[in-house]
C-alpha cells in the first residue's frame, strides 16, 4: 500500500469541503445548513493540521484553534438566531424566509 502523504490529506479536505458546500447550497433546513458549515470548517482544519505536520511547524495548529473558536461562536449565534426566527415565523426552511426578497 502507498504511504500516506500530505496530498492524501489535501484531497480528503477538498472532498469534505465539497460535501459541506453542496449541503449549504441544496438543503432547505437551516439546522442542516449550519451543520454543513461545521463540515466546511473541519475541512479547513484538516488542511491546516496536515501542513503543520508536514512542515513540523506548530503555527498551523494555532490557526486551527482559532478556527475552532470561530466555529463555536458561529454555532452559538446561528442557533440563537434560529430560535428567534422559529418563534416569529414558525418555520425552519431557509427559502420560506423571504421577507426581504424582491
Amino acid at each position: 500500500m502507498l504511504p500516506v502523504t500530505t496530498i492524501h490529506y489535501v484531497a480528503l479536505s477538498a472532498a469534505l469541503l465539497l460535501i459541506g458546500t453542496i449541503g449549504v447550497l441544496t438543503r432547505r433546513n437551516i439546522v442542516i445548513i449550519l451543520m454543513s458549515i461545521e463540515l466546511i470548517l473541519n475541512a479547513v482544519n484538516i488542511n491546516l493540521i496536515a501542513f503543520s505536520h508536514a512542515w513540523h511547524n506548530v503555527n498551523g495548529q494555532v490557526f486551527a484553534i482559532f478556527v475552532i473558536t470561530d466555529a463555536v461562536a458561529e454555532a452559538a449565534v446561528g442557533l440563537g438566531i434560529l430560535i428567534a426566527l422559529f418563534r416569529n415565523k414558525e418555520t425552519v426552511q431557509a427559502d420560506e424566509i423571504d421577507l426581504l426578497k424582491w
Binding site: 469534505l16 447550497l25 433546513n29 506548530v58 452559538a76 449565534v77 430560535i83
Partner: protein, 170 residues
C-alpha cells in the same frame, strides 16, 4: 502500513459521516452522522501528532457544539419535517462548486513545479524537540498573544449576541 490503514478508516468515517449529514431527512440522524464525521476528524488529528487538538476536537465539538445542535433540534418542533420538500432547487450552483474544486485538484495533481514543491518535498524539515501541547502553548501565548486576546472579545460578543437573540423580551 498501520498508518495507511488508519488513515483510510478515518477518511471513510469522515466522508461517510459527511454524506449522511447532508442527505438524511431527519435532523437528528444528520446530527448523529455529523458526530461520526467529527470523531473521524479527531482521529486524523491524532494520526498527525496533534494530540492537543484531538482532545479539543472531542471535548469542544462532540461534547459542546453537537450538544447545542441536538438541544436546538429538540427545542424547535420539527414534526412536520416528514412530508416537506427536502432540497431546494440550486443543483446548478452546487455542480459549479464541484467543477471548481475539481479544476483546483487537477491543477494540484498536474500543476507546475511550485505546487509540486509545496505538496511533496516536505520531509526534509527537522522535527521539534518539545511536546505538542507545550509547543502549542509557547506559540499561542507569545507569538499569537494579541489574536488570543481578540478571540476572547469575540467569544464575549457571541455570548451576549446569542442570549439577546434567544431571549423572548429584552
Amino acid at each position: 502500513m498501520l498508518d495507511t490503514v488508519l488513515f483510510y478508516s478515518f477518511a471513510t468515517l469522515v466522508l461517510g459521516g459527511g454524506i449522511f449529514t447532508i442527505t438524511r431527512r431527519s435532523p437528528v440522524h444528520s446530527a448523529i452522522a455529523l458526530i461520526v464525521a467529527l470523531l473521524g476528524v479527531a482521529g486524523l488529528y491524532l494520526l498527525q501528532q496533534a494530540e492537543f487538538l484531538f482532545a479539543v476536537q472531542i471535548v469542544l465539538y462532540v461534547g459542546g457544539i453537537m450538544l447545542l445542535f441536538l438541544f436546538v433540534i429538540m427545542l424547535v418542533n420539527l414534526d412536520d419535517a416528514e412530508h416537506v420538500r427536502e432540497f431546494n432547487r440550486q443543483w446548478a450552483v452546487a455542480l459549479a462548486a464541484v467543477a471548481a474544486v475539481g479544476a483546483a485538484g487537477f491543477y494540484i495533481f498536474h500543476g507546475g513545479a511550485a505546487v509540486h514543491h509545496v505538496v511533496y518535498r516536505l520531509e526534509a524539515v527537522p522535527a521539534a524537540a518539545v511536546g505538542n501541547t507545550e509547543a502549542l502553548a509557547d506559540s499561542l501565548f507569545s507569538e499569537y498573544l494579541l489574536p488570543f486576546e481578540l478571540v476572547s472579545v469575540l467569544l464575549l460578543v457571541a455570548v451576549v449576541g446569542s442570549v439577546v437573540m434567544a431571549k423572548k423580551r429584552i
